[in-house]
Symmetry: C2
Subunit: 600 residues, 2 copies
């Protein structure tokens, strides 16, 4: 695949690189006397120079003859250098910041490339949202290579999203410069059953000679996994058992081992490699979803590499897993992923191989970060209006909007189906609860830890909404609302009383989406996420601080579970068990049918 992500295409600069290597033209930058982490041969080589010109590496070895009077020289004595780190599967939206801001957070940590799957924004804004992410990335030096989201909506027929992706949209996106593959194919049951539309998306990707990325999250490593891989899927980040990783690699699939903010699969699944003497060329380390506070406090791939080394992985292998292996996965290893002649000069520096802390990041031959901070400017963001005004709710929300009429002939209480959440897990249970009826309407009941909940369609102002009850968040008072509500990202509101729910909803409508907490008629905390209702336009530190404030507000309302807004965000995701609420109603996700709120 032609690389559109380097300063210049190789075909424009081969002469210059040859002449620089020969010393006939002097290098722009020379790194001297480094300890090279050679990911090609998995060796440490001492005393290595690297000569750079036109954003690419001209020579690796002794570069004395490449230094002229205008050559910048970096003395790397005692320091390791490695190729820049690449994340083979990441949703930037999960960090709730723009791509440019994400770059500012991760580039100083050594990340020089990401393969992002912007399927959250695509659910809201469609392909235009994907294009925005690609454009936004261009104001930073980070190589943000994008996959075209494959599954919008996540579960067709059960919710309303802002957009729809099918084979036609995939064919179109495959022609874009910033697209390098198909986003995670979550609809694996449709792959296995031979669904025409889903296979149409796969076909459009393969015709464009691009890479299909996967999401195969079930424990079957037999027929199903084979069917999935045979359909052309090249990688998968959904392994939760060591045997998943082993079987994927045995079947020629890149196993992307995940260590995100919420999902810590890597320590378990890396046993596949640590406990078996196998060729690990198909192994990668990825983050998938990272919260702002993790980026600030722990880091990105540097953090994951350190964790993998702590688990017992050889440091050179760990570095291969975030450099040459992901590059090869995306068939871009001729352009990036190693410190070798002709490759993009994406290079990181660090002092300790067993505790890798990045001290300098070079992208395309430019020093872009040093000592944890960017040293080049990241341009100003420009987000088009359409992406910043995505709150299209089809009714004026008042307290009355949240009333749930009791069934005809109901007495003082009714039996209702309630979604019970499981703290720190993605699943939920269906419970039957007896709820009070007041003035013909069914009410929340804080004594049973049951809140009222509504999902308002917010993309096309259809005026549709789903209503139900949720159990387990511990709210004694108040309400919350958020537009981060996977995957359709409609307006999700839950609370103990209708007035606070209305205030929460209207607060988000007014600010273009985000997350907020309300109690006693006051807004306790607000995280405005004006970009598609998913991302802030502010710095990562500000967003982290706002989220911290939101967490405190949730606690004040009585919720003590960890990152509750994340658990909340999954309640409308109709591909997770058992009971979910979308804007179309209550979904039994065991049978994939709508179900009634009230029980006979």
């Amino acid at each position: 695949m032609q690389n559109k992500f380097c300063k210049k295409p190789l075909y424009e600069v081969t002469r210059t690189l040859a002449l620089v290597a020969m010393g006939a033209v002097k290098a722009e930058l020379v790194i001297r006397n480094a300890r090279l982490v050679n990911v090609c041969t998995a060796e440490i080589q001492e005393g290595i120079d690297v000569a750079i010109a036109e954003g690419r590496i001209a020579l690796v070895g002794d570069a004395s003859h490449c230094i002229g009077e205008n050559t910048k020289v970096i003395d790397a004595a005692g320091q390791y250098i490695a190729p820049g780190f690449m994340d083979a599967h990441i949703h930037v939206e999960s960090a709730m910041i723009s791509v440019g801001e994400y770059a500012r957070a991760v580039v100083p940590r050594g990340t020089t490339g990401i393969f992002m799957d912007p399927h959250e924004i695509c659910n809201v804004c469609g392909p235009e949202g994907v294009k925005l992410m690609i454009e936004d990335a261009r104001r930073s030096p980070l190589k943000a290579m994008s996959n075209a989201p494959s599954c919008v909506p996540a579960v067709a027929g059960f919710e309303d999203t802002g957009s729809f992706i099918g084979p036609d949209e995939i064919r179109e996106m495959m022609t874009w410069d910033g697209i390098v593959g198909l986003g995670e194919m979550m609809s694996f049951p449709n792959v296995l059953s031979g669904n025409e539309q889903i296979h149409g998306e796969l076909a459009e990707t393969l015709k464009a000679d691009q890479v299909i990325t996967g999401h195969y999250s079930v424990p079957d490593t037999g027929a199903g996994l084979n069917a999935y891989i045979a359909s052309g899927v090249r990688c998968c980040h959904e392994s939760t058992r060591a045997e998943d990783v082993l079987e994927k690699m045995r079947h020629g699939m890149y196993a992307l081992m995940r260590y995100g903010s919420a999902w810590h699969d890597m320590p378990v699944i890396i046993r596949a490699i640590l406990d078996n003497k196998i060729d690990d060329r198909f192994a990668c380390l990825i983050s998938d979803d990272t919260h702002p506070d993790t980026l600030i406090q722990e880091g990105h791939l540097d953090h994951i590499v350190r964790c993998a080394i702590r688990e017992g992985l050889d440091p050179i292998k760990a570095i291969q897993y975030v450099t040459i292996n992901p590059a090869t996965c995306f068939r871009m290893d001729h352009e990036m992923g190693s410190i070798a002649p002709g490759k993009c000069a994406d290079i990181v520096f660090f002092d300790d191989l067993n505790d890798i802390r990045i001290t300098r990041t070079i992208i395309d031959g430019d020093v872009v970060a040093e000592n944890g901070r960017m040293v080049t400017e990241i341009g100003k963001a420009a987000f088009p209006d359409a992406v910043c005004h995505t709150m299209h709710v089809g009714e004026t929300i008042t307290a009355d909007s949240f009333k749930i009429a009791a069934p005809q002939g109901a007495g003082g209480t009714v039996k209702a189906r309630v979604i019970e959440i499981i703290p720190n897990r993605v699943g939920s249970f269906e419970r039957i609860a007896e709820l009070p009826v007041v003035d013909g309407c069914v009410e929340a009941d804080a004594n049973q830890d049951i809140m009222k909940m509504c999902v308002f369609e917010r993309h096309h102002a259809t005026g549709t909404k789903g209503a139900g009850f949720v159990k387990g968040f511990g709210f004694k008072k108040g309400a919350m609302a958020q537009t981060v509500a996977h995957d359709a990202h409609n307006l999700l509101v839950a609370g103990t009383n209708d007035a606070d729910m209305a205030l929460a909803a209207n607060t988000l409508i007014a600010c273009g989406g985000g997350m907020c907490a309300v109690a006693d008629g006051q807004v306790l905390a607000l995280v405005p996420l004006p970009i598609a209702g998913l991302m802030s336009d502010r710095p990562v530190e500000d967003v982290a601080a706002m989220i911290e404030k939101l967490s405190l507000a949730w606690q004040e309302m009585g919720c003590t579970i960890n990152s509750p807004y994340m658990t909340m965000a999954l309640i409308p995701l109709a591909c997770l068990p058992e009971l979910r609420l979308t804007n179309r109603g209550l979904v039994d996700c065991r049978t994939f049918t709508f179900t009634e709120l009230f029980v006979e």
Copy 2:
């Protein structure tokens, strides 16, 4: 790169493969209970089934549910299966047989794919010759992936070839279905010096997103090797020292370790891997040039793999070097090179991992060879007239054509520059010899082991010819002629007397080129090579027998060195030291200048 070499593109068959893996549609072929050489993880897995449909692998594991009443089942109990072998660098012309016939020789040996560089025929017939090779391959199941020859002529300005290749021709060839890369870039001095035309060829290849193959044959692993690799060259088969291999792999270049009929580099250079604990993903085994008798008696890649194992290489690694590694080198690993779902069903069978003898070859899901023989038909060859009539000599050759006039005022003898060959080496020496003058003409002198030699331009009937003397072949009588004369492949004639030389030359002109031996006015042996004067249209066994007869004739004339026709074939190759003869005259290859035949 989109693979045009499988039965069907993956995008047409993903649905079927998924359904076969799931058992909803039954497989066409199932291999049961094999010992799988898993090149992805470098393991042997026992009791493995492989289900196949549409020429591709649908499932690897337990395929019980994939078997229907129309499924062909192969019981592989006790047998190993591995991916079909691929040769990452091969000149088919060196075997002096057509590509279809070459396939018949190598497919039963387990070769399912070759990356051929048809630069011999390209020197004679230009891109049309390359096209012919690609077309010819289509009558066999062998996947003959072609590189576009890069260096025609080999040394510009010193000889006349039938064709010329520059950036325009490369741009054109890159659009052909059968082309996957640029042929070996022998003109490495021009790469290093930044020559515009040579870098133009590299640029056209890179723009087409194809692979540049290399030929870097000097021992410098510093500036020169870096300059060469920085120019985009991805692989090289010209290593002669272990350190060459090591440095190439360290620089991210695929090291293609050669073990051809004449050049046995592998046992020496494989020490790079055997003596160093390194990641060997950049290692391949290749043949480069193989003679017909080697193909018949020893085999092809199977032979090279056996030899590598004898040198101490782990058998699984040896198999990786001819499967997944070359596939990855050409960025076709998503299509071939492993036994994994979705990949082309190119599979070989054998019984002993330490002495690999192929018993069955499957290509695209069809059993094509068993027990050393093809079991499918190879279609009839059809070679267009232009390719079969390439003898365009610009004069009627008689004994007088070979007269070499003595310099004015010469006495009974003259001093002349003579090419002295070195048996079993590619080099030559310049010698000064005193030669007899008879009737104003300088004569050969069998007593000094010096023959007369002429090179007639044979492509455009320009009537140009070069004349000189050669020492070291041991001829007591007779003459030889051949059109296999690298790289221009003009008509090369050498002999002890003008009459036999004329007969030899005219014999080849009459039969369309080839090799012949003549003595005392009789043709002792003739190897007609009507396809471009380089290849026979007959079976490999016949060609081997004819060459054997030719060897006997050379011996009868007095020549005792090994494969003398190979040494002879290199005499016009002006990129080898010290003295060479082309149709334009005598070339001093140390200074790259024409030189005088007679010395003051």
